[in-house]
Amino acid sequence: MLKIENLHARVEEKEILKGINLEVKPGEVHAIMGPNGSGKSTLASVIAGREDFEVTEGSISLSGEDLGDLDPEERAHAGVFLSFQYPVEIPGVTVTNFIKAAINESRKAKGLEDMPANEMLSKIREKSSLLEIDRKFLSRSLNEGFSGGEKKRNEIFQMAMLEPKLAILDETDSGLDIDALRIVANGVNKLRSKDNAIVVITHYQRLLDHIVPDHVHVLYNGKIVKSGTKELAFELEEKGYDWIKAENE
């Protein structure tokens, strides 16, 4: 589904990704771990098409479609979803209105009419109960005054509504207490299917107790230096990133 080949990317003059290769098949969950500054969030942003980064070499494709020339919104329409590490606030725009706009814009791009109001409403109901989201929450301004847990839950709610082919969860566990982590992880697990793929970006193994990955990759200094099964995550937890650093210096 997602295929990344020899991806190099830089911001201004600084090269951050130095030849990434990654293939994620439908139904799979991949975890990308690594120390601070290894390029994890950059990889997420580059897949989503953020313009601050320049791809200098290599390619990214989704279900055979090259994403290289697509704008961020076109990638979203193609089925890429990024759960942000720091979701932004949009004052005055409710959670509901925002997701309506997102869904209808994607439909428009596919030549479809706006989703009928009743269908939208029942979908919102279904997904919010799936994620244990209070109805009142939906009429609040997007991310304004949200707790860390609320912000992340809102990201997963949007993912549930948009039903992407590929979801990238960027440090979804940061800023969450154990209860919030459990709710968010349960939400993600409910959304797993044989047709979609999930890439989980995280520092810590603890999220992977809840969202169990099929593959674990270690990103260090802009390259994937180790790949393995979920056991690799435990090993990392035990030995720390110094182990990786020592091997790659």
Binding site: A48, G49, R50, D71, P72, E73, R75, A76, H77, V80, F81, L82, F84, P87, V88, I90, P91, G92, V93, N97, F98, A101, A102, I103, E105, S106, A109, S141, L142, Q158, L162
Partner: protein, 481 residues
């Protein structure tokens, strides 16, 4: 209202004023220039009584002594007042029994505006007095209103039919010599709307006027007078469009509102005059004086969405004369490209326990300049007067400007005055977040702007709110590269 949001949206889509168009109808236009004879001729053309002619001439005499104000934070080439034609009326006098008799070109214009009389008739609950190049062409729903004793007609008609009301109130809130543009308007106003709500009557529908400048080189000088008698209520909508022209067009309107004891007037405006092109050429100059007077326990609410005009100079104000009276001002002002707006309000507290609220939202894009200018004045006898002001500015890009000029004058120690102001910028992070959710940049900006403006949009009547949202989108199109 038997009108769904969808239908309204569709109807609004037909209003393609952003493309600009104008109607080629033979007009009865005066020669350019202004002098006593022209003032007299306007009055004569409109078959006005002598007292009205005298009033105009007095205003003209005042105007000659005045100078165009320069204190506003706007820069423009001053109009040559001798190079303007002060009267233009559609030639074929409009006394139609049915739509079939109306000049088809005129009907076509209405259609382009999305306000064909046909559709308006269907728009149950909204009576429309359409001002087309200064002369009222059609007034609908008059009958329903008449049954309640409500008078809603052109000001020319009111001068003839209801001289006692006009004589008593015209110039009572905005005196002819109030300011340069008000004096000019008083001398040469061509037409406008008049509305009177009798004692204890709640106007059953939103009264609505559409203005439109049509004839090239014709200044438009509207005069609006709304009187809400004791314990009455009226909601009045004013919407404006103008065709694109490569020539500056002057507009200097005067609006006077009178809310007698326990009365309430809600006055909403959506203003979308031609703002000039992307290089800042052309566009309407909009110098408007709007003011309302509140008697005891009365309330006046101004709500405005200002998206058009090259230069805007406008301060809808409330004189809170009566005890316990309330004044409100809710405003969204959008400037893009080279537009300049200096707009705000004056709340003059004279009575005891008077209250005012000011919510101003300024949105600047392109190379535009957007200023809020507000005065809160508490008189010495205004015990326990209260004011709350909130001025928020939203900036897009690095070349525009937002300015806030709040003035406070309190002569009574019991006054409570609060002022809050914020300035924010649409961030790349916000845009990318929206993009990532499949929302393109233009739509993302519209979404953010709508959220920012929500408190004010919520104050508009529903059908106006839809139009206003659409306008915000149109106004900011192409504002991000």
């Amino acid at each position: 209202m038997a009108y769904t949001e969808e239908e309204l949206k569709k109807e609004l889509e037909t209003k393609e004023y952003e493309y600009g168009f104008y109607t080629d109808i033979e007009s009865d236009t005066f020669p350019k220039g202004l002098n006593e004879d022209i003032v007299r001729a306007i009055s004569q053309k409109k078959e006005e009584p002598e007292w009205m002619t005298a009033w105009r001439l007095e205003a003209f005499a005042q105007w000659k002594k005045m100078e165009e104000p320069e204190w506003a934070n706007v820069h423009y080439e001053k109009p040559n007042f001798q190079d303007i034609s002060y009267y233009s009326a559609p030639n074929k006098k409009p006394k139609y029994d049915s739509l079939d008799e109306v000049d088809p070109e005129l009907l076509d214009t209405f259609k382009k505006l999305g306000i064909s009389i046909d559709e308006q008739k269907k728009l149950a609950g909204v009576a429309v007095d359409i001002v087309m190049d200064s002369v009222s062409v059609a007034t609908t729903f008059k009958k329903t209103l008449a049954e309640k004793g409500i008078i809603f007609c052109s000001i020319s008609e009111a001068i003839k039919e209801h001289p006692e009301l006009v004589k008593k109130y015209i110039g009572s809130v905005v005196p002819a010599k109030d300011n340069f543009y008000a004096a000019l308007n008083s001398a040469v106003f061509s037409d406008g709307s008049f509305c009177y709500i009798p004692k204890g009557v709640r106007c059953p529908m939103e009264l609505s006027t559409y203005f439109r400048i049509n004839q090239a080189g014709t200044g438009q000088f509207e005069r609006t007078l709304v009187i809400a008698d004791q314990s009455s209520y009226v909601s009045y909508l004013e919407g404006c469009t103008a065709p694109s022209r490569d020539e500056n067009q002057l507009h200097a309107a005067v609006v006077e509102l009178i809310a007698l004891d326990d009365a309430e007037i809600k006055y909403s405006t959506v203003q979308n005059w031609f703002p000039g092109n992307k290089e800042g050429k052309g566009g309407v100059f909009n110098f408007v004086t709007k003011r309302g007077l509140c008697e005891r326990n009365a309330k006046i609410s101004w709500t405005q969405v200002e998206t058009g005009s090259a230069v805007t100079w406008k301060y809808p104000s409330c004189i809170l004369k009566g005890d316990h009276s309330v004044g409100e001002f809710y405003s969204i002002a959008v400037t893009n490209n080279f537009q300049q707006a200096d707009t705000g309000t004056k709340m003059v507290h004279l009575g005891k326990n008077t209250k005012s609220t000011i919510i101003s939202k300024g949105i600047s894009a392109g190379k535009s300049q957007n200023s809020y200018r507000g005065l809160v004045q508490i008189g010495s006898r205004a015990e326990n007067a209260r004011n709350f002001s909130q001025c928020d500015s939203l900036l897009m890009g690095n070349e525009c400007g937002a300015h806030t000029f709040p003035y406070i004058e309190a002569k009574n120690k019991s006054a409570q005055i609060e002022h809050e102001a914020t300035t924010s910028k649409i961030g790349e992070d916000q845009i990318f977040y929206c993009n990532q959710r499949g929302i393109d940049t233009e739509k993302a900006i519209a979404l953010i702007v709508n959220g920012f403006s929500k408190e004010v949009l919520n104050k508009l009547p529903m059908e106006f709110a839809v139009e206003a949202q659409k306008l915000l989108e149109i106004s900011l199109e192409g504002s991000v590269g």
